[in-house]
């Protein structure tokens, strides 16, 4: 028996042919086995598509699981920290899930597709954990990453683009809502979700219809500045919106070798996602204990003086850095829309309360020469970019 070997190189997403056509710079990297563009023509311009028009990002490699069965709600409620009972059909929830020690395994979005039927969408793969969690529940867990192609359609004109595609009634869709349309005989799911902190949608469709969807979308977006974008542009927008990314702001605990290098939801500023009123969920006991005793870490959003980006910086209590560092920067960018030098970081509690001043040690290079300086930074509690259009329902015709 000679068997086809498993594919040895990178896989192509259902939208690959379209991305390839729009690609001018040939900068790709691997994302869960798939080729994904870092950039297609110019990251900076791609970024402004997000903030100024409509940006399209291929998120097909995101991991997806379908949860169904009589106990699916009860199952999810034990799995994640927030109360899923409040998420009605047609709604989407951002959620985190923890191990027994209350350390974050991953975050993701959970789509309540229909009564009792859910989809978990996350960066990492979790079938083993989801199945272990299913012991004692009447649920079915189906891996469906490759069965659903996904596109993020983000930016102020995204509503106009989609309306132009003939998707009527989208205007009533509130943030974190989802709705279904027919697209050429297939079900097209649209959720008002995204990773940019702007007005935007995510489109989900079976892979066979992916290219047709792309074509229809770009046809409809022609007059609204539609552009395909790569990861770099998205990353900029993500930090402006203050969203967390695995491997940046936290490390999935099941991959953490060193104790203390994982984070709890409380340490990531996600206490609002932890519902202690639920009698049992993974991590509840440990998190209750942490809440009582205090956390070790705190995730901070930093507004840093000057314009030198604080990549990989240590954070100190004072300018002289005379004491040991109190933390480090996890993501840092220059925000083009805010004209702010911004960063996310992890600092040891009790440092890093909103309004606190800390000092960031920045190394930067100018024409080969390296310099170092200490920049003052202020801990802020709101996302750096939070435009009203993000939640306006119906969205305006931008």
């Amino acid at each position: 028996m000679i068997r086809q070997p498993v594919h040895q190189g990178r896989l192509k997403t259902p939208f690959h042919s379209r991305l390839e056509k729009l690609d001018f710079v040939n900068e790709w990297h691997e994302w869960k086995g798939y080729s994904t563009p870092d950039s297609l023509y110019c990251s900076e311009l791609e970024y402004f598509a997000i903030r100024n028009a409509t940006a399209v990002f291929d998120l097909s490699p995101m991991t997806k699981y379908r949860i169904s069965g009589a106990d699916s709600l009860e199952y999810l409620n034990r799995l994640v920290t927030r109360d899923m009972g409040k998420i009605k059909p047609g709604r989407v929830a951002y959620a985190v899930w923890c191990d027994d020690q209350g350390q974050v395994i991953d975050d993701g979005t959970i789509f309540h597709l229909r009564e009792g039927e859910y989809r978990i969408c996350s960066q990492e793969r979790h079938l083993e954990w989801l199945q272990a969690s299913a012991i004692g529940f009447d649920v079915t867990i189906k891996h469906e990453t490759d069965d659903i192609a996904g596109l993020a359609v983000q930016g102020p004109t995204s509503f106009s683009v989609l309306s132009n595609m003939g998707l009527d009634g989208l205007g009533d869709l509130k943030p974190f809502g989802l709705t279904h349309f027919d697209f050429q005989g297939s079900e097209l799911m649209i959720s008002r979700t995204g990773f940019t902190g702007d007005l935007g949608y995510e489109l989900w469709i079976e892979p066979d219809k992916a290219e047709a969807l792309w074509d229809a979308l770009f046809e409809a977006g022609k007059l609204h500045g539609i552009r395909a974008i790569g990861v770099h542009a998205l990353e900029l927008a993500r930090v402006e919106a203050g969203y967390l990314a695995p491997y940046e702001e936290f490390l999935p605990v099941d991959e953490t070798v060193r104790t203390g290098h994982s984070r709890s939801p409380l340490e990531l500023g996600l206490e609002w996602l932890v519902d202690f009123k639920k009698p049992n969920f993974n991590g509840r006991r440990a998190l209750a204990e942490e809440k009582r005793k205090g956390s070790n870490w705190r995730l901070v959003k930093l507004d840093i003086e000057g314009n030198k980006v604080a990549v990989s910086s240590f954070i100190f209590e004072n300018k002289k850095a005379s004491k040991a560092a109190i933390g480090f920067v996890t993501s840092a960018v220059w925000s083009p829309v805010c004209k702010q030098n911004i960063a996310l970081g992890s600092v040891r509690a009790p440092h890093g309360k909103p309004g606190d001043n800390v000092w960031v040690e920045i190394y930067y290079q100018r024409e080969m020469h390296w310099s170092r300086y200490m920049a003052k930074a202020t801990v802020v509690d709101k996302p750096f970019w939070f435009p009203p259009r993000r939640s306006a329902t119906p969205p305006g015709p931008y």
Partner: protein, 538 residues
Amino acid sequence: MKSYDAIVVGAGHNGLTNAAYLAKAGLDVVCVEKNDYIGGAAVSRNLYEDWWYSNCSYVCSLLRPEIYRSLELHKHGLQVTPYGGSVQFMENGDYYGSYHDHEVAYREMARFSRKDADAYKRYSADTMRQCRFIRDFLLSTAPDPTSFKPKDLMELARIGGKFMDMGEDRMYETIRFWTMSVAEYLDEYFETDVIKAAMSGSGIIGTALGIHSPGTAYVLLHHYMGDVDGNVGSWGFARGGMGAVSNAIAGALQAAGGEIRTEAGVDKFIVKNGKVSGVALDNGDEIHADIVVSAMDVKRTFLTCMDKSDLPKEFHNRVDNFKIRGSSGKVNIALDGLPDFPALPEGSSLMYSDMHFIDSMERMELAYDDWKDGRWSEDPYIDMVIPTLNDPTMAPPGKHFMSCFVQYCPHKIEGRDWSSEERDAFGQTVINQISNYSPNFKDLILHAEIRTPQDIEAEIGITEGNIFHGELTMDQLLFNRPIPGYAQYRTPIGGLYMCGSSTHPGGGVMAAPGANAAREILSDLKRPNTVPESFGDD
């Protein structure tokens, strides 16, 4: 008759390493070797035409990078090249491959079970955590838990501290890891038989234990804790064969002014009044030194090369009961060309990998049952590599050298010596198993060297030909290795030290025992230490 500051007995990699560090500290050192070649079990032998066989140890990963660096082995000709992956041929014609590339490895696992593929990252992290815990102690002397000496107490406190740093839950996991069987450990992650079979091999290689024997999860670690350029757990070939390792260390020894004398087998250690004063060679010569270091295994050192009357009774008993068990053999083959493995797609990278021909946990364990009854496994676990796919120096162009490590293979057949027919039959068992997956293999064989534990013992001197100089069970690890109370390289005989794989941290071509012993000797001599410290966290 010349006197030296120190004599090291046995020019295996540990003996040479030990001698090199002593020489670097300015000692006048000679390393004596019974064979006419150096290297012990880390050798490249020219046994057939232009073929060079790594005829004992065959792959290299555990060699401590600290030692590699401090002895500047690259200057003495050593080059270690990593190789990737492994393959498990299955009876149903399929195979399970493990690939260097994470995503390809994932896809291959998912072909059998997506759950297993997802579980792998937890498995890696959990196993790596144990690796990190132990690796730091490889280049240090195991503390004596019964001692009140500050040095022991401090080292115990350091280990205790590292243990505590893991946090409560992971401390329990560590206790479990150290006491579990590899089969049960794997059961907690994986459901696919062939995947578990593939991973369990590392839990039993070189031991007289089965995959279900408690304690074998640790052995897994013993094979994982090596690295090639920081790629923990990956294995490499020494260019030119394993002899390149020994030759490079020998080069470092000679560069530091040390001497090597081959065909100088030691008959006896010369002991007077509880102190060693030198060695008497097989040829009747004597060499004198106040420091004598044995790189031989502990049984050969004390039972063969020393009079019983020179040793405390209890110590002699302990040595007598130290477990060194012949459990594996080797079949080394010169090939006229590259064998086909029709199950593999053309051009598959798995051709370059470690090959195995057992596909289930049951077959793994059954192989062990044969050994317990004093027979070689009818259906053995073979770890097969073709180093010449990576290394052009070991065979003529287009020709190949194949190394088969075979388990299980007893030191004696049902209690008696091997006959040559039995040796041939053992070799045939191995060749047949491979032929099941490679129809043209038999026709390509130009020469085969079949080595039972008895042959290895006869040639190299390791008791029962055990690759680790002693079982890696809890009662023979750390402060118990080799003998409780004598786990710090010293012996009951003044001036006599041990530096072979019978001592902490054990076998595998690590060179750590040799280095650790040198550090203890130099400390006793109040000489500056030349042995590097562990790189620490990575």
